[in-house]
């Protein structure tokens, strides 16, 4: 429970996102694509084991639409 409260969360800016799909390739454990190519993101906190990979997905987005935030 403690881990859940301190974990970080992925969020996409849907205005910036243009459906390149890089995030789903870099972090398939937490991101899949809908039938139009836009990301469906697991709303749960990112497990610590996946945090590095999540950061890579964030920096790999060509339009910088993916964010890794502290849970609000």
């Amino acid at each position: 429970m403690e881990k859940q409260l301190t974990g970080k969360q992925l969020r996409v800016n849907p205005i910036e996102c243009s459906g390149h799909g890089a995030c789903a390739e870099l972090l398939p454990e937490m991101i899949s694509l809908d039938e139009w190519g836009y990301p469906l993101i697991d709303p749960r906190p990112v497990p610590p084991a996946l945090e590095r990979q999540a950061r890579r997905a964030v920096s790999g987005c060509p339009v910088l639409a993916l964010q890794l935030n502290r849970r609000r």
Binding site: P14, I15, E35, W36, G37, Y38
Partner: protein, 441 residues
Amino acid sequence: MPLRRGEATASRSRPDGLPRLLPAGPGEPDGLREHLARHGFIPYRNAPLQLAGDLQAAGLTGRGGAAFPVYRKLEAVAGAGGRAFVVANGAESEPAASKDASLLWLAPHLVLDGLQLAAEAVGAQEACLYVHNTRGEQFTAALRRALSDRWSARIDRVPVQLAEAPARFLAGQETAMVNLLNGGLALPTFTPPRVFERGVNGAPTLVQNVETLAHIALIARYGAGWFRQVGTHAEPGSMLSTIHHADGTVRIVEAAIGTPLRSLLGADLGTDGTDGPAQAVLAGGYHGTWLAASRAAGLTLDNAALTRAGASIGAGVLVALPASHCGLAETARVARYLALESAGQCGPCLNGLPRIADGLATLAGPRPSPQVRANIERWAGLVTGRGACSHPDGSMRFVRSALDVFAAELRQHERGVCSASARRPFLPLPAGAAVSEEDWS
């Protein structure tokens, strides 16, 4: 306008009963003189945030749709640091709603008193009145006149600009409005920052619906106890509604929150034991919820009751849909309008809404395949919660409730039969909006 102080500041007796906001009975709009005679001079508090306590005690919530506690917004803006900006939001975009436009037309000074009091409460030095440019030249000219009368009479302490919103459904959405006021397009933006953190000119911005401001002007004069004389304990006060009756007439009504829908819609829902002409009621507008007439007949006009039925007060719209019209065809027409009014900025909304509208047009026709409904439900799931603004979520609330409430009609259509007899559309859409007509019936 010449103003005699004595006349302006004479104490007024508290108005009992309703209406509170609109001048009782038909008549001319309240000019400044009539307004002062009715309500007296604006009760400035001469201290920031003093008003917030009264509004908290009154339990006033926003009347623009979200029903958020007003005092909390005031505190958030006042506490954000920096000089604040205040906007009176009168850009009532719901095509079926006209309560805000009616209020601005009939009692503009009540709204503008509330705007000044809100500006004082958050320490703003600038304010703006934001309205649609579609209400006609007479409408905006009257508002300009009201503003200049107040400035000449030295009632307003904070200058108020009139800003006009383009004729788009989303132009009244607060981030779109801030974007426009900052010199951009009236398109929603991604949050954060929220407008109370950084809005017009980067200032913490208080956005209040015009009806909310009118209530503020009355609470500041007559007190929280007076405000609570009507309404429910959880949702005190009165509210304006735009009511579309099954016979096509439209009324603006001020009613106590908690009033039975049966008394607002009158004979539309039938009298003891007999069905009325309405088959369903749309509550809240085109981001709102369809309710079966039998269900609506047992509900009251408050969010506590409406939420239990999956609905909400929303934009204060109630439409009684007569049994002579096809609920699926009506929903399909409006869904097409909502798809065209998408800002097209977010992928799921851009891709989903037109497909859903097309699907609904198919359901409104003869013998749709079961796959169509399944597609609509899947797409509805894909667009919900995935926009920068509430447009996809609101549109899907409307669509999903239609599939639920008009399920029996859909079964008829699957057999090639439509129960409607009327061909003319019932739900209002703005003139010139591109919609596909469903003439099969």
